[in-house]
Amino acid sequence: MPGRTPVEESMTAITKQISEIYLLIRPLLTGKIVSTLLIYGILPILFFLSLFVGRYEVPPSHVVQILAAPLINLLPDQVMHIEPGWTAAEQNVIYLIRLPRVIAAVLVGAGLAIAGAAYQGLFKNPLVSPDILGVSSGAGFGAALAILLSQGSFIIQVSAFCFGILAVTITYLLSRFYRTTPSLILVLSGIIVGAFFTALISLTKYVADPYEKLPAITFWLMGSLASVRYTDILLIAPPLLGAAVVLILIRWRINLLAVGDDEARALGIDTKRMSQVIILCSTLITAGAVCIAGIIGWVGLVVPHLGRMLVGPDYKKLMPVAFLLGASYMLIIDDIARNLTSAEIPLGILTAIIGAPFFAYLLSKRSVGWT
C-alpha cells in the first residue's frame, strides 16, 4: 500500500495477530469453560470462606492452621508438623459450631433445590416449590406440637420429620380418592392438606404459653441453622442424601414427565411409579431439611430457575447444577444470617427478602423461556 511505513505495516500485522488470537480464545472466556468453572468452583470456595466468617473473631491464619492441622499431622513428624498456635475456643468455634453449620447449609440448600427442580418437572409447572404437597406445614406442626409438649430438640426433629411425611401421605391418598387429572388434583390436595396443617400450627400457637413456648415455636418456624450439631446432621444426612442420589440418577427421565404424562407413557415410562419415586424422594429431602433448619421457602423455587438460565431446561445438566447452586445460595444466606447483625436473622426471612427481588430480576431478564 502506498504511503505506509514498514513500522505501520508491522503494527497492523501485530494487531491482526492479536485480534485473531483473541477470536480463538474468546469462546473460552465467554463460553462453557468459564461458566463451568464458576458453577463448579463456587461451592468449594464458599464452603471454605464460610468457615472464616462469624461473630467470634478467629484470625484467618488460625482458621487455616486449625483446618490443616489434622491432615498435616497425619504425616510423620519429620516431614511436617503444625504446633497449635491457636486457642481451644477457636478450635471449638471452627469444628463444633461453624463446620457442622456449613455442612448443614450445604445439605439443606442442595436438597431443597433439587427437590424443587424435580417437582417443577413432575407438575409441569415452573411455579412449584418443594412444599407444594404440604410437607412444610406438616413438619412445622410436628415441631410446634413437640415444643408445646415441652420436648427436647431430638423429639422436635423426629416429630417434624414424621408429620412432614404424614402430611404428604394424606395428600397422596386424598388425590387417589378423587381419581381424576393426576398432577392437578395432587396440587389441589396439597393445598387442602397444607391449609389444614397451617391451621393446626396456628391452633398450637394460640394455646401455647405466650412467654416461652410461643416465641420458641415462632422462631423455630422462621428457620435457623444456629443450633445445628453433628448429631443432627448424622440424623438427616442419610435419608436426604439417599433421596438426592436417586433424583440425580433418574434425572434425564424427568424431562419426559415435564413434557407430558401421555407422551412419557408412550415412550415407555411408568409414569405412576416414577411420580411416586419423585414424591417420596422430594418429601424425604424437604422433611429432613425442615427438621434441622425450620421452614425455608424460596430456595426450592428460585434456584432451579437460576440453573435453567445457566444450562437450560435439560434435567441431565440441570440437576447437578441445581444441587451446587442451591448449596451455594444457602451458604451465602446463612453467612448473612449470622454476620449481618449481632443477633441471628432467621433464615426464612432472609431467603425471601433476598430471593423475592432476585426472582423478580430473573424474570425481567426474559431468558428463562417463558413470560
Partner: protein, 283 residues
C-alpha cells in the same frame, strides 16, 4: 400382520361408550387413514392403539402378541405415538426434545450417549428441521413442532407410527410436507395409522381408509372405495364431488358450494347451465 385389532371397544370410566366392534389389521408399508367428524373418538382409538387407554372389549395384537400383557417399554420400542400439538412449558431445545425418543432403549438410571445423539440427528435431518435443532420447542412454528414430534417418534425406531391429526393446525405447504414424509416412511417399511380431517389426504397417502361414525367403522377399505360422495355426505353432512383429476393423476375430493365460479359461463363451458350456477344467480 404387524397390528391386528379385533372387535375393539372402549368406554370411559363411569362414562359413555365411545366405540365398539372395530376390527382391522395393518401390514408393513401400509398407511391407514381414519376419517370422521369431530369428537367421534378417533383420538381415543389412537390412544388405545398406543396402549395409553385399555380397551373395554376386544383385543389388539402387536406382532402376534396380545398388547395388554406387554410391558409399556416393549410397546414403546415398536410403536411411536405422535399426539396432537400441545403447549410445552419448559424450553427444551429441538435436539433435547427429539432425544427423548431414545427413552425406551435406555436403562432407567442412564441418559443418552453418543449413539443416541447420532440417531436423533439422523431423524432431525430426515424430517428436514436440522436448521432449528438448537431452538427451543416453544419458539418454533406449528409445522416445525409437528415435524419435531415425528422425529422424536422415529428415534424410538418403531415399526408402527401413530399420528393423531398430524396435519391440523398446519398451513397448506406444511400439510403437504408432512404427508410427503409419511409417504417416505411408509416406503421405508414403517406402518402408519393417522387420523385426519381432510378426506382428500386419504387419496394423497393412504392405502386403506376407515370412516368412523356411529361408534364404529362405518366403512373400511381402499381409499377409492371408501371415500365416496355418499359416505362423506353421511359422515359430514356436506355434498362433495369425487373426481379423477388428470392434472395430478389421482382422485380428488372437493366440496360443493353453489355458484362458486364467478365466470358466469364466459370462461368454462361446464359453467353454462350448471344447476348450482343457475341456482346462485337468482340470489
Amino acid at each position: 400382520m404387524i397390528l391386528e385389532v379385533a372387535n375393539a371397544g372402549y368406554t370411559y370410566p363411569r362414562g359413555p361408550e365411545i366405540f365398539s366392534n372395530i376390527s382391522f389389521s395393518l401390514a408393513e408399508h401400509e398407511v391407514l387413514c381414519i376419517l370422521g367428524p369431530n369428537g367421534i373418538g378417533k383420538s381415543t382409538l389412537i390412544r388405545c392403539l398406543a396402549n395409553l387407554y385399555r380397551l373395554r372389549s376386544g383385543s389388539i395384537r402387536l406382532l402376534g402378541t396380545e398388547m395388554a400383557v406387554l410391558p409399556q417399554v416393549e410397546i414403546a420400542k415398536k410403536i411411536g405415538y405422535v399426539p396432537q400439538a400441545h403447549e410445552i412449558i419448559f424450553p427444551f431445545s429441538v435436539m433435547e426434545f427429539v432425544l427423548m425418543g431414545r427413552a425406551p432403549h435406555l436403562p432407567a438410571f442412564s441418559s443418552p450417549g453418543r449413539e443416541d445423539y447420532k440417531k436423533a440427528d439422523q431423524m432431525i435431518d430426515l424430517v428436514g428441521i436440522g436448521k432449528i435443532a438448537d431452538k427451543p420447542v416453544n419458539e418454533i412454528s406449528g409445522g416445525e413442532y409437528q415435524l419435531a414430534m415425528i422425529a422424536r417418534a422415529l428415534t424410538q425406531e418403531p415399526a408402527i407410527l401413530l399420528l393423531d391429526e398430524p396435519t391440523s393446525h398446519l398451513d397448506f405447504g406444511n400439510q403437504i410436507r408432512v404427508l410427503e414424509i409419511i409417504d417416505q416412511l411408509a416406503d421405508s417399511g414403517i406402518s402408519v395409522v393417522m387420523s385426519s380431517h381432510f378426506p382428500d389426504h386419504a387419496f394423497l397417502t393412504s392405502n386403506n381408509v376407515a370412516i368412523m361414525q356411529y361408534g364404529s367403522f362405518m366403512a373400511y377399505g381402499l381409499a377409492e372405495e371408501v371415500v365416496t360422495a355418499e359416505n362423506l355426505k353421511r359422515t359430514y353432512g356436506v355434498d362433495v364431488s369425487i373426481t379423477y383429476s388428470h392434472d395430478v393423476a389421482r382422485h380428488v375430493c372437493v366440496p360443493h358450494k353453489a355458484g362458486s365460479c364467478r365466470c358466469g359461463g364466459m370462461e368454462h363451458l361446464q359453467c353454462i347451465g350448471h344447476p348450482s350456477v343457475i341456482a346462485s344467480s337468482g340470489r
